[in-house]
């Protein structure tokens, strides 16, 4: 199959491209900047119609990962990258030769901060989703799934907290803060949280491409299916990354209030002249909620529909992380 992968410079995008190529698919990647990808690389923005039309020419499948992923920043950036980017790509795919489209999304598109235990994949809801990232991704998912038709079958896959060696988003930030002694455990650290090792997420996305006929038209949450107390998870990640485990516990409500204060300060820093703009906040309410409430999902439906099971267990993933960390030291 000829497949276009967007966002292939990130950890998960790279893993998806490698998995596809590894089994003989013909991979093209669409990048904003040259990434040294071993695959056929086209440069351009997913929100740029002409670049998208060029990239889609002759493709049979699309895996759309490119997105603005962050916890802060003004709405316009998210809207353009995540909503307009998806719309442009989906419209291009409808016009062209593409038959299968996998939208890579996030469980946060459907949830509003409450505890999730054994949850299913509820419909995306831009009004309830928290934060600019989740709101824009919710709209994007609705656009993609709305385009599902017999000519272009669309599936949304929502991996939860993807991590692995070389991850700069989650693991990188945790380790960096722990190293600086700025990583507290929120609440008692017992909230049960599930995550997804990168290989498993990539496998699931490829499975969604293959099983498009069964999986089409809906969203599927993907995780390792091995929830752990968040405190234990952070400790294990720190140990694997070779940094000291966090010791400080902050009550969840205090953290939430602190997050609110930080967000207020950031908003002010954007508008007040002479105040340095805050771009890397220590804490937001979204993050406080993510780290102090349960987040794990019922995987039975996903596994049945995708005919997929995670290949790498949490413990094996931590070992791979540790091996990679010791190589880099």
């Amino acid at each position: 199959m000829r497949v276009l992968v967007t966002g292939a410079s990130g950890m998960l995008g790279r893993a998806v491209a490698d998995t596809l190529a590894g089994r003989g698919d013909e991979v093209t990647v669409l990048q904003r900047r040259p990434s040294g990808s071993p695959y056929r690389e086209l440069l351009g923005d997913v929100a740029d119609e002409s670049a998208v039309t060029r990239a889609l020419a002759g493709q049979e499948g699309v895996v759309h990962l490119a997105a603005k992923v962050d916890v802060v920043g003004p709405w316009e950036g998210y809207r353009r990258a995540n909503i307009e980017g998806t719309r442009t790509l989906v419209e291009g795919a409808c016009r062209g030769s593409v038959q299968r489209f996998v939208q890579v999304s996030s469980p946060s598109v459907a949830h509003a901060g409450s505890s999730l235990a054994g949850a299913g994949a509820e419909p995306a809801d831009p009004d309830r989703a928290r934060g600019n990232y989740a709101r824009s991704k919710a709209s994007a998912e609705l656009i993609a799934l709305g385009a599902d038709s017999d000519d272009l079958v669309v599936t949304a896959v929502r991996p939860h907290l993807v991590w692995g060696p070389g991850d700069t988003q989650l693991i990188g930030r945790i380790l960096e803060r722990a190293r600086a002694g700025r990583l507290p455990v929120l609440g008692r650290g017992t909230s049960l949280v599930d995550t997804t090792y990168v290989t498993n997420a990539a496998d699931a996305i490829v499975a969604a491409l293959d099983r498009a006929d069964v999986a089409r038209g809906r969203a599927l949450v993907v995780t390792n299916g091995e929830p752990r107390p968040i405190g234990e998870l952070m400790r294990d990640i720190c140990v694997a990354g070779g940094v000291p485990a966090p010791r400080l516990h902050i009550p969840a409500r205090v953290a939430w209030a602190a997050g609110a204060a930080v967000e207020g300060a950031m908003a002010l820093s954007h508008v007040l002249p002479g105040v340095p703009e805050i771009t890397e906040p220590p804490l937001t309410r979204f993050l406080a909620e993510q780290l102090s409430t349960a987040h794990w999902f019922d995987q039975r439906h996903t596994r049945r529909v995708l005919d997929w099971t995670p290949r790498v267990t949490l413990d094996e993933g931590l070992e791979l992380l540790a091996a990679s960390a010791s190589r880099n030291q």
């Binding site: 409450s114 650290g189 299916g225 405190g231």
Partner: protein
């Protein structure tokens, strides 16, 4: 004949298509407009023929709205007609009050107008009961079944009207409360537990919005006949006495026992009139029982659509439940408690007969229930056999239930008489146990026997112990983890079969001698000609048995057998150092120790064997509903033999005459309908034996759910049979964790975790939704001390909670726990103690632990949603 519906729009739970009005003559022939909820037109429109009709009749001050769930869940082929009585609901208001006989006739004319032919079942509530029963007696040829909910047909002589009704009947107040104000109408739905949603309460009150619309509400209350001079009295009496004619009509009574109006005594009255009726009681439900417990509706449908299953009684030898006085001079009982006591079999048999006459003189009759609040010993034994001698039913509850639950248990069994020690009187009064009080102090036994001396008693009233074996013999109670204890009824045959099974399983022969530190089995000694010694202990508190007291009891009769609960044995081991050399010598005599009631750790038994070196230590497995099922001596299992290391706890092979099967677990954690004897199949343990309970007392739905297939008993335990036919118990069905990979039973995983160094105890619970639950291991580390109770301890736990003490399981221990568990474990949490049951201090309350774990792992709101506010048995801290 139909017209537009007068119903307001949007009443919760009502399909407007059910609502119709029609004209029918009343008892005097005056045309009246009735309102009914009727699914008949829907059935007709769908072309479904009506096979049976359910006629639902409400009381005062409700209306057909009461039956909305019955209509909603009607099975195919059933037409449900719920009427609004004249003057009530949305039916026409009448100029003058309608009396009971008029209302019965009104209803008959309405059913004719509705074209109801073919078989009819009636379902009634409150004063709808007498009216529909009046209809039933007039339509015997059509009447198929009767269902009654919180109603009455008779005001027992000399007993006062229920307070609320009595107060409302004084004329000026009556009019004020029932008609001029909506007080009575609103009060009817105010008693509901839990409280009804406001829209539902408003719906109940909707037809009674003005004084003019409430006239019949007042007249209905005034129509309750309290004296013979009342115009409706004759009609009510005729209906009540006519119920004999319904002896062949299947009947069901569904009752909320917390009804301030139609309390349990009205149920008891109806049970006497319809003794064949099935009964299901909800102890916590109030007057509007189907509002408080909507599941009662599906129970009623289950009953209406089920065929009674006749199960042939399993044939088995039955030991007569009477004192075996073959050797009259032999010692029957020696008491080492208090002042001490001693009685021979001959004297005991005479005393039983004398007391039976005395109890008969006080009014105890065949088939009546007699609650026994008497401490184990000679007096309890005497009164128990005297009750059986009269063909009455012994109601026996264990003081270990705690006062409140003991009271609730006995109240629920509705005894006709209560025989108790003087000290028990306060409990009876405080917890509202009904029945005639018969005091049984030390001197009262002699007094009662004296009363009986001159009392004429026909030979048939002193029961032959082998006669009428299918009469109820005893009511015992489960300790049930949730809700009030359930009554369990044994017939005389089942009691006799249990005695025979115990005799054969443990080779108990006449002349044998035993120590009775565990009441249930000890009571059977006299029937088997066994000599028993009651040790010096508080028999209601098993852990008060000391090693010295046990040795003295052994010496007193030369005992070769010891019956004791696990807690008692634990204390015996703990107090061994106080033994004298002579006492140690006595403990070499017993050849058998029997311990039942809760799991007994093999380690405890091994230490016990150091004290009682000649004894086999058997731990019969069973439950209140079926005891024993199997037995084994756990110390004989070989830890090095792979066959003795299966998952769970080996409880031995089923005893002779007992059949054990398993019902495989389904992904949602329920058990299949199919039974299997395939080795290794994990499932609910299901047993069949001649001594299995007859039924749960006044819990028709619970009994039906437990007897699947009919004649079997679902134990609520899970486990498997091994290749040698031995049974391995792996936990409780309600504690099975339903993971996405299949059901996980707790015991085996817990045992594996307890093998990890540093872990003293472990409990495994599930968190999350059924079918995709995560396994959580709760561990008590070695060296953890149960911190004290009280506010300081609670505060300290909160402080430690903030520091993350719950997750303070060292990483290496957590890793070893995960490896040992053999199943994926989401979280390893530590505690300093586990909550255990009060009765045996041995059963871990895994439901409480699951709630605790859910609070930690998912937050307090998720825990509330998952576990709600269910009423639970109290638990205490493990040691």
């Amino acid at each position: 004949m139909t017209a537009g519906s007068p119903l307001p729009r949007g009443l919760p739970g009502v399909d407007p298509a059910w609502s119709r009005t029609l004209e029918a003559p009343d008892a005097e022939g005056t045309p009246r407009t009735w309102h009914v909820l009727d699914n008949g037109p829907q059935l007709a429109a769908a072309g479904v023929p009506t096979e049976q009709t359910l006629l639902c009749v409400h009381g005062n001050p409700t209306w057909s709205y009461l039956w909305r769930r019955v209509l909603e869940s009607a099975p195919p082929g059933w037409r449900v007609v719920a009427v609004d009585q004249l003057g009530m609901g949305y039916s026409q208001r009448t100029e003058t009050p309608r009396s009971l006989p008029q209302r019965v006739e009104d209803l008959s004319r309405l059913t004719t107008a509705l074209g109801i032919d073919g078989p009819v079942a009636i379902l009634a509530h409150d004063w709808g009961g007498p009216i529909s029963l009046g209809w039933a007696l007039a339509h015997r040829e059509q009447l198929a079944r009767v269902v009654l909910t919180n109603t009455a047909v008779h005001q027992p002589a000399g007993s006062p009207l229920p307070g609320a009704i009595a107060a409302a009947r004084t004329p000026p107040l009556l009019d004020l409360v029932t008609r001029r104000t909506p007080g009575f109408v609103r009060a009817a739905t105010a008693t509901c537990r839990p409280a009804l949603p406001t829209p539902v309460r408003d719906a109940f009150a909707a037809p009674y919005s003005s004084p003019a619309r409430r006239t019949a509400v007042r007249d209905f209350v005034a129509d309750i006949p309290v004296s013979a001079s009342h115009p409706s009295h004759a009609a009510l009496t005729a209906i009540a006495e006519g119920l004999d004619a319904l002896a062949d009509v299947p009947a069901l009574m569904v009752w909320g026992l917390s009804d301030p109006v139609f309390s349990g005594r009205y149920l008891a009255d109806l049970q006497r009139r319809l003794p064949h009726a099935d009964v299901h009681t909800y102890p916590d439900a109030s007057h509007l029982v189907l509002e408080d417990r909507p599941e009662g509706v599906s129970l009623i449908w289950d009953w209406l659509t089920s065929r009674p299953t006749e199960v042939a009684a399993a044939s088995a030898e039955v030991v007569p439940i009477q004192v075996d006085a073959t050797v009259p001079g032999r010692t029957a009982i020696v008491e080492l408690t208090g002042e001490g006591g001693h009685i021979t079999f001959g004297a005991l048999a005479e005393r039983v007969d004398g007391l039976a006459r005395g109890l008969h003189a006080r009014g105890v009759r065949r088939g009546q229930r007699v609650a026994l609040l008497v401490r184990p010993g000679i007096d309890l034994t005497t009164v128990l056999y005297a009750v059986w001698r009269l063909g009455a039913v012994a109601v026996v509850a264990d003081a270990g239930l705690g006062r409140r639950r003991l009271g609730a248990a006995l109240r629920g069994a509705a005894p006709d008489h209560v025989v108790g020690f003087p000290a028990a009187r306060a409990l009876v009064l405080a917890t509202g146990i009904p029945g005639q009080w018969i005091r049984l102090g030390r001197d009262d036994v002699a007094g009662l026997i004296a009363e009986g001396l001159g009392h004429p008693l026909s030979p048939t009233e002193l029961f032959s112990p082998t006669a009428e074996l299918d009469l109820d013999g005893a009511v015992l109670f489960t300790s049930g983890a949730t809700g009030p204890p359930k009554g369990v009824v044994y017939t005389r045959r089942q009691v006799g079969a249990q005695v025979a099974l115990l005799r054969d399983a443990f080779a108990l022969r006449p002349g044998g001698r035993f120590v009775a530190a565990f009441a249930p089995f000890a009571l059977y000694g006299p029937a088997l000609g066994l000599t028993s010694a009651v040790p010096d202990m508080d028999v209601t508190a098993p852990d008060t048995l000391t090693a010295a007291a046990l040795a003295d009891a052994v010496e007193a009769v030369g005992a070769s057998i010891v019956f004791a609960s696990p807690a008692a044995l634990s204390n015996v081991v703990a107090t061994a150092s106080e033994l004298t050399a002579g006492q140690r010598e006595q403990l070499r005599r017993p050849e058998l120790v029997l311990s039942a009631g809760a799991p007994v750790p093999a380690a405890l038994l091994r230490r016990l064997k150091e004290l009682l070196p000649a004894a086999a230590t058997h731990t019969p497995y069973g439950m209140t509903e079926a005891l024993p099922v199997a037995t084994t001596d756990p110390t004989t299992l070989d830890p090095d033999d792979p066959a003795d290391r299966e998952r769970g706890v080996c409880v031995g092979a089923p005893l002779p005459g007992v059949t054990v099967r398993t019902a495989a677990l389904l992904p949602d954690g329920t058990a299949s309908e199919e039974l299997t004897d395939e080795p290794g199949q994990l499932g609910e343990i299901v047993v069949r034996a001649p001594h299995v309970k007859d039924r749960y007392d006044r819990l028709w739905g619970t009994q039906r759910a437990s007897a699947r297939p009919a004649g079997w008993h679902r134990t609520g335990d899970v486990g498997h049979l091994d290749a040698r036919g031995r049974l391995w118990v792996e936990g409780r069905l309600t504690h099975v964790v339903t993971t996405a990979d299949g059901p996980v039973a707790p015991y085996a995983v817990e045992q594996a975790i307890e093998s990890v160094p540093g872990v003293r105890r472990a409990a495994v619970v599930g968190v999350g939704p059924t079918g995709t639950q995560q396994v959580v291991a709760v561990v008590v580390p070695e060296g953890a001390a149960p911190s004290g109770s009280g506010r300081r301890a609670a505060l300290w736990e909160r402080v430690r909670g903030l520091r993350g003490a719950e997750t303070d399981v060292p990483a290496d221990v957590a890793a070893r726990v995960r490896t040992a568990a053999g199943v994926p474990v989401a979280a390893v949490l530590r505690r300093d103690w586990l909550p255990v049951d009060i009765r045996h201090a041995a059963k871990v309350d895994r439901t409480e632990l699951a709630r605790w774990a859910t609070t930690l792992l998912h937050g307090p709101r998720a825990a509330r949603e998952a576990f709600g506010g269910q009423s639970r048995a109290p638990s205490r801290r493990s040691r």
